[in-house]
């Protein structure tokens, strides 16, 4: 059986680990000792769209884990530099697959080792009830593509493994169209949710009156699309259609940035909106409204520091 390490066991990491353990030997690299102990003793339970109880090997020290062939790097973007530093010098034979939001995760991981890297964006979601129990809520796919020293065949192999575990996954020769669609979507929806306190719900697509939120969502997405166009990226899905589709479906999704703000945690603004602003600057495309969202989120973080 294939040996897979899930590095970072938040919602997404736990969903991957719980499912993949059905078809692979899964180890989990976590930050806290008690988290490792609980996983080793109790295993990992998945409820919701799946009903699984999986055995995993967990540790806080990568040297204590079996050598993996594939590492799914699943920490939040804010914890990624620290996680990448901990993996420095380990997992020599493994391929890394990043799942962080925004842009720049491959560079952060790549700076810490010569591993081949796959890039991915995931649209699945869940709720983490305890260290050993995660609920699988949205069964949308993870999209995988080659990034550094990897091929479309490597991406397909990873997608096939994930599919065999019961999750949805697709491989792409070029991930950038999907990555940018999600970047623009997240830079808009996550920041608007975090600043208003609203989950992602129908107001985000409302365009009836001048003060309606849909106008802002549309304007932010248009700025993002202009940057993507200047970067030579032809978007996969249209972010506005993603927004309309998701809100029409009646889902009232709580973006992670809203949860971060409510819990007074640092947000992923730097990897998401920050990377869009840096790309805009590099390409000479103005993104004044994203800059405003960035400043407001940063100031909100400052208000509880």
């Amino acid at each position: 059986m294939k040996r897979v390490c899930v590095a970072g066991a938040g919602v997404i990491g736990s969903l991957f680990a719980g499912h993949l353990a059905q078809v692979a030997d899964v180890s989990v690299l976590v930050r806290r000792e008690e988290h490792a102990r609980a996983l080793n003793e109790e295993g990992l339970r998945v409820s919701g769209r799946s009903d699984l109880h999986s055995r995993v090997t967990a540790a806080t020290d990568p040297a204590a884990l079996p050598e993996p062939e594939l590492v799914l790097v699943c920490s939040k973007g804010t914890d990624l530099p620290e996680l990448a530093a901990r993996m420095d010098g380990h997992f020599a034979g493994a391929t890394m697959m990043t799942v962080q939001n925004g842009l720049g995760a491959d560079e952060i991981v790549g700076a810490r080792g010569a591993w081949p890297i796959l890039s991915s964006v995931t649209f699945m979601s869940g709720t983490r009830h305890t260290d050993t129990h995660v609920e699988y809520i949205l069964d949308t796919a993870t999209w995988i593509g080659p990034s550094r020293d990897t091929t479309p065949a490597d991406a397909e192999a990873a997608a096939e493994l994930i599919r065999s575990s019961g999750l949805k996954a697709d491989a792409f020769d070029d991930l950038r169209p999907a990555q940018w669609s999600k970047l623009i979507f997240n830079a808009t929806v996550n920041t608007v949710a975090a600043l208003t306190g609203l989950p992602h719900e129908p107001r985000f697509a409302q365009l009836d009156d001048p003060g309606d939120l849909g106008h802002l969502v549309l304007a932010l997405m248009d700025e993002g699309k202009a940057v993507a166009a200047a970067a030579g990226v032809e978007l996969g899905e249209d972010p506005w259609e993603m927004n309309v589709h998701a809100t029409n479906r009646g889902s009232r999704h709580y973006p992670s940035m809203l949860e971060d703000v409510e819990a007074h945690r640092r947000t992923e603004i730097e990897l998401i909106t920050g990377s869009l602003i840096r790309e805009g600057r590099r390409l000479g495309v103005p993104v004044p409204l994203h800059e405003t969202m960035y400043r407001l989120i940063r100031a909100k973080e400052a208000s509880w520091q």
Partner: protein, 306 residues
């Protein structure tokens, strides 16, 4: 002279109590808060703090009790103007009505109900601390002027300003009072909403350079909209922002919109940032940053209904 204060909250009470000290002015107050109304009728309307004043005021929650008045001074929160005017307009058939509310667009609402409208901007502030008692926090000037589409005669504006000034509320009558009004609106739009969205006090908003630059972008849009209407600001809102950030002035002040957000009360964003956006649209001036702020604060208000 008969004057009716419409909406006798903090600002309305400052006018009512001070005017109620004059022998030649009969002051009425229309307010829906029964306990406040009863206390005023029983004990008079009392101000504490920046000035110790008790004024004789006839208060009522029943608009049909109001006599015909020479002047109205509207001081409700902006979102209650239309309802308050629907109830009280009969008292001003032969009178002039001034607004001293925050924001822009209030005069337009008054003009739907009465014939002679006075544009107004006021800086004094306070808060209701008990029924019939208002703490006067900040003294300041008031500016009044005829509202052009349905103007009150300038002599009448002067008559009201003279009475207010004599009562201890320094008030100027100007042929064009838009400058002070837009200066205050631009100042409030740039600072109130940023405080409300970030949770930061005025001083902390100003000491973060990126956020301070955002305030300037909001000010610049407001100035462009004012300029397109031919309005000359009486001073630069930028100076007011920096002045208010001083430790001894307003460093620790939580903007009223932040206070509203913390108390989950509807804010005045529609007549501040929303007002700038609407006038911008009317005069062909783009206001993308004010639109952004407006939509975000409206979103915050909507989140309370979840």
């Amino acid at each position: 002279m008969k004057v009716c204060i419409v909406g006798c909250g903090a600002v309305g009470s400052l006018f009512a109590a001070n005017l109620g000290t004059l022998d030649d002015v009969e002051v009425w107050a229309y307010d829906l808060a029964r306990d406040h109304v009863d206390a005023i009728n029983r004990d008079g309307l009392r101000l504490t703090g920046a000035g110790e004043v008790t004024g004789r005021v006839r208060a009522t929650a029943d608009a049909s009790e109001l006599p015909p008045c020479d002047f109205g001074i509207v001081a409700t929160k902006a979102m209650h103007t239309d309802a308050a005017m629907t109830s009280t307009a009969h008292a001003f058939v032969n009178g002039c009505v001034a607004t001293v509310q925050n924001g822009i667009g209030n005069e337009e609402v008054l003009a739907r109900h009465v014939e002679r409208v006075i544009r107004g901007t006021t800086f004094p502030a306070g808060k209701v601390t008990a029924p019939g008692v208002v703490q006067w926090d900040i003294k300041g000037d008031t500016t009044l002027g005829p509202f052009e589409p349905k103007p009150a005669p300038l002599e009448e504006v002067e008559r009201l300003a003279e009475a207010c000034t004599r009562a201890g509320m320094p008030t100027k009558a100007l042929p064009d009072a838009r400058g002070p009004q837009w200066r205050k609106v631009i100042f409030n739009s740039a600072t109130n909403a940023l405080g409300a969205l970030t949770g930061l006090t005025h001083g902390r908003v100003c000491e973060q350079p990126p956020l301070r630059r955002l305030a300037s972008q909001l000010v610049d849009e407001g100035k462009a909209v004012a300029g397109a209407q031919g309005i000359v600001l009486d001073s630069d809102p930028e100076d007011l922002i920096d002045y208010a950030a001083r430790p001894e002035v307003g460093y620790n002040h939580k903007a009223s919109m932040l206070q509203d957000v913390e108390a989950r009360r509807q804010t005045e964003v529609d007549s501040l940032n929303g007002g700038i956006v609407e006038f911008g649209r009317r005069y062909g001036v783009p206001t993308p940053q004010n639109e952004t702020i407006w939509a975000l604060v409206k979103g915050v208000e909507a989140s309370w209904l979840q």
